[in-house]
């Protein structure tokens, strides 16, 4: 009896000390790990992009190591739609986002959860990006040009999307009211394509990447490209306020992107003729990179080359117009201004 009563506390003390030691060791280890991680964090970023050629410079910069050259550690996160990238930037799941402007993005930016830091794809004459498409039936019944869209049922993915705004621009230019068009939101590209193919809508706006198959199969007729009718700034690079505090990171990121923008412009865009880039010794390496990241065959990539400013500039005036238009339609909260959502230190205006 005596023996055990003496021994027990001693062993308990021992085990307690061991536990304490272990705890302390873990603490020290975690601290060192987190400190070393923090040192890396300064130049580390998760970038949200779509698997579309409208983000080509991001793929080129990643694949050719331009980010690495700038000392950056960039992790690309792929998304299926534009809006979730803006939401992920707000929630902190990605640090930098590259995608199209949408009403949702402006509403988030208006609440201060993200700011635009640079330009990306543009709808520009000669470069296919977003197209107006007619169903075969509507085409046979005389819907031959974008002008004829007045009074028709036109499918778009979402209310306040790039496609909806493109339609608004067309209405303004051709002097009809958007309310003359019956805009049908179908939520996803596959739904829009199905409606067009099934001839249940007269027309639809689709990105070239989603429409290519439909055009080739004869499921729809191309009426024209938005870039030829009403050019505008479709895509942008944006970042969360927390990322913007890391000035070095953002500056280096934008410089690496600009380097890729320039290369993409000079090598591929300069060679585009008739909406297609030629495949030759010069263009092939870059086209192959785009093909790799977009999971498309080379023959399709050449027809999907969106225009991107060689210096990564942003058409600020058009952005202001987008906001005003979306506010006029009631899709963006009043009080959102272009000055408030653009990070002036980083954006190079047109």
């Amino acid at each position: 009896m005596k023996f055990t009563s003496i021994e027990k506390p001693a062993s308990r003390l021992k085990s307690r000390m061991k536990a304490f030691e272990l705890f302390f060791l873990t603490l020290v280890l975690t601290l060192t790990i987190s400190v070393s991680a923090r040192a890396d964090d300064a130049l580390k970023a998760r970038v949200g992009v779509l698997k579309l050629s409208s983000s080509a410079p991001v793929f080129i910069a990643q694949d050719k190591g331009y980010f690495r050259d700038a000392g950056l550690d960039i992790d690309l996160k792929f998304f299926d739609a534009a809006q979730p990238i803006a939401v992920a930037t707000t929630s902190g799941d990605v640090d930098i986002g590259v995608t199209a402007f949408t009403a949702g993005l402006y509403n988030l930016a208006g609440k201060g959860t993200l700011k635009v830091i640079g330009g990306m794809s543009r709808a520009k004459a000669g470069y296919p990006l977003i197209g107006y498409f007619a169903s075969n039936k509507a085409y046979a019944n005389g819907l031959k040009t974008p002008k004829d869209l007045a009074g028709k049922r036109v499918a778009v993915t979402q209310i306040g999307s790039s496609f909806h705004y493109s339609l608004g621009l067309l209405a303004d230019r051709d002097g009809f009211r958007l309310s003359d068009i019956r805009v049908v939101p179908l939520q996803s590209l596959s739904n829009v394509a199905a409606a067009l193919k099934g001839e249940t809508v007269d027309a639809a706006l689709l990105p070239v990447s989603a429409a290519r198959k439909l055009m080739d199969d004869g499921g729809a007729k191309l009426l024209g490209w938005v870039g030829d009718e009403t050019p505008w700034q479709v895509g942008a690079v944006f970042a969360s306020p927390r990322t913007l505090e890391k000035k070095a990171l953002v500056t280096k990121f934008l410089a690496a992107i600009a380097r890729a923008d320039r290369e993409y412009h000079d090598v591929i865009l300069a060679a585009v003729a008739g909406g297609k880039a030629p495949i030759n010794d010069k263009t092939r390496p870059l086209l192959e990179i785009i093909a790799k990241y977009t999971n498309l065959p080379l023959e399709q990539v050449v027809g999907n080359c969106a225009y991107i400013d060689p210096e990564g500039r942003l058409d600020v005036k058009n952005v202001a117009h987008q906001i005003a238009w979306l506010q006029g339609e009631g899709f963006v909260d009043k009080g959102v201004t272009v000055d408030a959502i653009i990070a002036k230190d980083f954006v190079k205006p047109d």
Binding site: S91, A103, A155, G160, V184, L186, S188, G198, T200, F331
Partner: protein, 277 residues
């Protein structure tokens, strides 16, 4: 019998010194719903939620405060859009639910009563039930266009499978001896179905209604993905597209109020139809 029972109890009383007295324990579990406790819990949650919003503990984009949601609902109601949205959604939910339920009851009874229907039906239901209706949207658009038909079909499909399953398991659960007795008395088939099987299966059919009514409400959002201009689902989708989270939650609150109303209606229906229980 009585005498013997009396003897026994006397014998027990005689040996009573050795017996322990035990308080009555077999009360069973009988949870009762107290209306006030439920409301109070709800009120506490809402007050805490509002407090978190007012003290800016949470970002209003991630979780709009109850006041902001209430404001969005009032705005929607005063602009008159709410009634339009509700009217369209109720039409779709009502028609879809009715179609799905009628078809489900017919198929469910067939499976419960006929060998052929059972062997074929159960296979098809098991194969088709787990298909997410949302994945079929492009096909539904190709088949039925973008009018009301595919929207109603989406809801009807969702309702149909659940109803069919709850109906045939209800039919299976009808006491066999009741059916056998009716058959022995040479009661015609249709009368057995009407007088024995139907009332016997009714409790589980009504329990199925509770589930299918919720399924119909769940599916109205998917259904209204198909080019709907009006409807609570279309409103929720648009609010999501535009990242107007207060409006989004306003739509969700309206849907859940709608769910409460439907639940209450079904309780009334159960009380009326199952008073014999």
């Amino acid at each position: 019998m009585l005498d013997r029972a009396g003897e026994k109890s006397q014998a027990l009383q005689a040996g009573g010194d050795n017996l322990r007295k035990v308080a009555f324990r077999g009360g069973g579990f009988s949870p009762k719903t107290s209306r006030y406790a439920g409301l109070l819990a709800l009120a506490v949650v809402i007050v805490l939620w509002q407090a978190a919003g007012s003290l800016s503990l949470v970002n209003p984009i991630f979780l709009p405060s109850p006041l902001a949601i209430a404001r969005a609902i009032v705005q929607l109601a005063s602009s008159g859009a709410l009634w339009q949205h509700l009217a369209y959604s109720m039409m779709r939910i009502g028609t879809g639910w009715l179609l799905g339920t009628v078809a489900g009851i017919i198929v469910g009874f067939a499976i419960g009563l006929s060998t052929l229907a059972r062997s074929v039906g159960i296979t098809f239901i098991s194969a088709l039930f787990p298909i997410p209706k949302i994945a079929l949207l492009p096909l539904l658009i190709l088949w039925l266009g973008i009018g009301e038909e595919p929207k109603i079909a989406t809801i009807a499909l969702g309702v149909f499978f659940s109803t069919a399953i709850s109906v045939y398991s209800g039919v299976d659960a009808v006491p066999r001896n009741l059916i056998r007795m009716a058959q022995s008395f040479n009661v015609p088939f249709l009368t057995i179905v009407r007088r024995v099987v139907w009332p016997g299966a009714l409790p589980s059919i009504l329990a199925g209604f509770r589930i299918t009514a919720s399924i119909a409400l769940l599916l109205v959002v998917s259904a209204e993905m198909i080019g709907a201009e009006y409807g609570i689902g279309a409103f929720v989708l648009q609010a999501g597209n535009l990242m107007q989270t207060d409006q989004l939650l306003a739509g969700v609150v309206i849907l859940s109020l709608f769910g409460l109303l439907v639940g209450w209606l079904i309780s009334r229906l159960e009380k009326r139809l199952l008073h014999w229980r």
